[in-house]
């Protein structure tokens, strides 16, 4: 129990540090976004001081002492108020993010989990049948495909299945003619559009999961307790799952949590190539349009989701491994 309390305390502390850094860093940069925009407008004609003030107000530029800014910032944060997006003006940053988040969470999140589960199970099977046909083919093939560059695979899939065969759409998250709604037609369209991005994420990820699990499992299979389990005449399935895979999984959980944490950042390259309306695409738009409020909010989302994923990994590891839970030194 102490383990879980300690980990929760650590999570709260790290989130606070991340939030504070997110406040401090932009303020260390010279100039401010209003001035940058002003410079842009100034090229088209002179700007009156009144216009300048109006712009600053509209963008919600901070006023007052640093201390009061910090408290305002925390207050806004708690209320989900990240200001107005420049590039999606006049939408608020939080509504822009809330529109993009489900796309990424559902597509990238689900496929990341699926890829991990499938890869790990294949890894268990490959390690158990080490050196046999499945192991030698699947392991080599999947480590080959996992080395494909993300964007290259995405482009290749678009070219073959979107452009030449025309089986799947080449970009977007849904048919632009449809209004986003919870009906069969829209969901069908979204699924249809997600096939190629999903394949991209799956293929580039599954090999890593397989290799990681396979190699860990082969190490575990050499342990004395596996030999003893064989001597005990336990069923192969029991030995493979309860004795070998269970232990081989421990170091992998942390890696998996990291990749889950990065889901919120979106698969930047994948979403850019497919013009998929998720967080990665949003991040790219924000960067290229110097949309500071949006960028700041996105970074905060990514940081916090990584922290949460690590927290989840700690908790799951604690549940799986009694040695961590009791705080014992290994």
């Amino acid at each position: 129990m102490r383990y879980f309390v300690r980990k929760t305390g650590f999570l709260i502390l790290t989130v606070w540090v991340a939030v504070t850094l997110n406040f401090v860093i932009p303020r260390l940069m010279p100039g401010n976004p209003a001035q940058a925009m002003m410079a842009k407008f100034a090229q088209q004609g002179p700007i009156s001081p009144a216009q300048e003030k109006a712009l600053a107000l509209m963008l919600g530029l901070p006023t007052g002492s640093l201390w009061s800014q910090y408290w305002n910032y925390l207050w806004d944060l708690v209320h989900g108020n990240f200001g107005i997006s420049y590039s999606y003006f006049p939408q608020s940053v939080s509504s822009v993010i809330l529109n993009a988040l489900p796309w990424t969470l559902i597509l990238v999140g689900l496929i990341t989990i699926l890829q991990f589960v499938v890869g790990t199970l294949l890894g268990v099977y490959a390690a158990w049948n080490r050196g046999k046909k499945f192991d030698s083919t699947a392991t080599v093939l999947l480590s080959f495909t996992s080395a494909f560059p993300y964007f290259w695979l995405a482009l290749a899939l678009i070219y073959v299945f979107g452009f030449i065969l025309k089986w799947f759409p080449i970009s977007g998250g849904y048919n632009g003619a449809l209004a986003p709604a919870f009906n069969g037609q829209f969901i069908g369209s979204a699924l249809y559009h997600s096939v190629l991005p999903a394949i991209t994420i799956f293929i580039t990820g599954v090999g890593g999961s397989l290799l990681g699990m396979r190699n860990n499992m082969i190490n575990t299979l050499g342990e004395d307790y596996i030999l003893l389990a064989r001597a005990e005449g336990l069923k192969n399935r029991t030995i493979a799952i309860r004795y070998a895979a269970r232990n081989a999984l421990l170091p992998i959980v942390a890696n998996f949590a990291m990749s889950l944490g990065l889901v919120v950042g979106g698969s930047l390259l994948m979403e850019t190539v497919f013009a998929y309306p998720g967080m990665g695409y949003l991040l790219e738009t924000a960067v290229s349009n110097q949309d500071y409020p949006l960028l700041q909010a996105l970074f905060l989302c990514i940081t916090i989701s990584v922290l949460l994923a690590n927290f989840a990994a700690d908790i799951v590891s604690g549940i799986l491994d009694p040695r961590l839970r009791k705080g014992a030194v290994r």
Binding site: Y225, L228, E232, G233, L234, R246, D321
Partner: protein
């Protein structure tokens, strides 16, 4: 009960003919007997133990010969039947016991896994049996609720012995069970083991490099050298009148604490390379009583009044008649 006939184990190798770690071993273990198997590192004693228990990986080893347990040849048994027989007839205790338990499962669940596999005991019966066995190895029954990392090395080894007895096997093979422990703990575990053996009446094959320890607890001792059993005798006899020069030399390595003048002697040289095909007696280069024949002819097992010895010194003379 256990009869081993002409057992050979060769570790496969891509580059050479392989390492013949066990060479034509032959012996039997009757019911209710504590047998020690001693030899120096690399003599094949653990390999022999694992070969009997059927734990060698057929991909890496080539095992030949017969291992008869109660009239069944374990080597010819279909794997499913062999699996069913494991632990209920034949169990093992591994070296040191440090890693012999699955680190993520409580001790009791590891006991229950094997009991559930081979019996129809209810949960309450299993718990009762676990408590009974833990007490038998001088552990507190509450140990069953612990995880392996919460136990000391000695406690783990005791728990491993308890685990090996959980289904009342006929034969327990112990591979260097006390090697990683200090002399005091070693002593108490071995004494406890021999008490249990007499009390419960199972047979033990105790593999160890410590001749002194084995002589104290075993009823019979087999001495192994270069993959062969060179001498097989009741423990009391071996101590008094060892016949094989290797056994005599081994005994010379121990000091009698009561003697006024302690004279210790080592054995010069080192064991032969088991990759090679051995010609003559493998011990000959290190033997103090070497004869001409030892370098050319491989000795045959000679039956003695009690036990047997593998040495030309004791070969019946008439055999040389051609």
């Amino acid at each position: 009960m256990l009869q081993v006939k002409d057992l050979w184990v060769t570790y496969k190798s891509r580059r050479s003919a392989g390492v013949a770690a066990v060479r034509g071993v032959q012996f039997d273990i009757p019911d209710n007997t504590f047998v020690g198997l001693v030899g120096e590192s690399g003599c094949g004693k653990s390999t022999l133990g694992f070969a009997i228990a059927g734990l060698l990986d057929p991909k890496r080893n080539n095992v030949q010969g017969e291992v008869m347990l109660d009239g069944q040849d374990l080597r010819k048994l279909p794997s499913e039947q062999m699996r069913a027989l494991r632990w209920s007839k034949l169990s093992v205790v591994l070296q040191g016991g440090m890693n012999a338990f699955n680190p993520v499962l409580k001790i009791k669940h590891q006991f229950m896994d094997v009991m559930r596999e081979h019996s129809n005991m209810s949960k309450a019966e299993m718990t009762e049996r676990i408590a009974e066995l833990l007490s038998a190895v001088d552990l507190d029954p509450s140990v069953m609720e612990s995880y392996p990392h919460e136990l000391s090395g000695g406690m783990k080894q005791r728990a491993a012995i308890a685990l090996s007895l959980v289904l009342k096997p006929r034969l327990v093979i112990l591979d260097e069970p006390t090697t990683a422990l200090d002399a005091v703990v070693q002593r108490s575990i071995v004494t406890m083991l021999s008490d249990l053996q007499r009390e419960l009446g199972f047979s033990v094959l105790f593999v160890s490099h410590d001749l002194g320890l084995v002589l104290e607890v075993a009823q019979r001792v087999m001495v192994m050298y270069a993959g062969q059993i060179v001498e097989d005798k009741p423990a009391s006899m071996l101590m008094e009148q060892a016949e094989h020069p290797y056994t005599q030399a081994l005994l010379g390595c121990y000091a009698n604490p009561r003697a006024e003048h302690v004279s210790l002697s080592g054995i010069p040289g080192s064991p032969p390379d088991l990759r090679a095909v051995l010609r003559g007696c493998p011990f000959a280069p290190r033997c103090a009583k070497k004869m001409d024949i030892c370098a050319v002819e491989t000795p045959r097992l000679v039956k003695r009044e009690e036990g047997s010895v593998l040495c030309h010194l004791y070969a019946p003379k008439e055999v040389t008649v051609r």
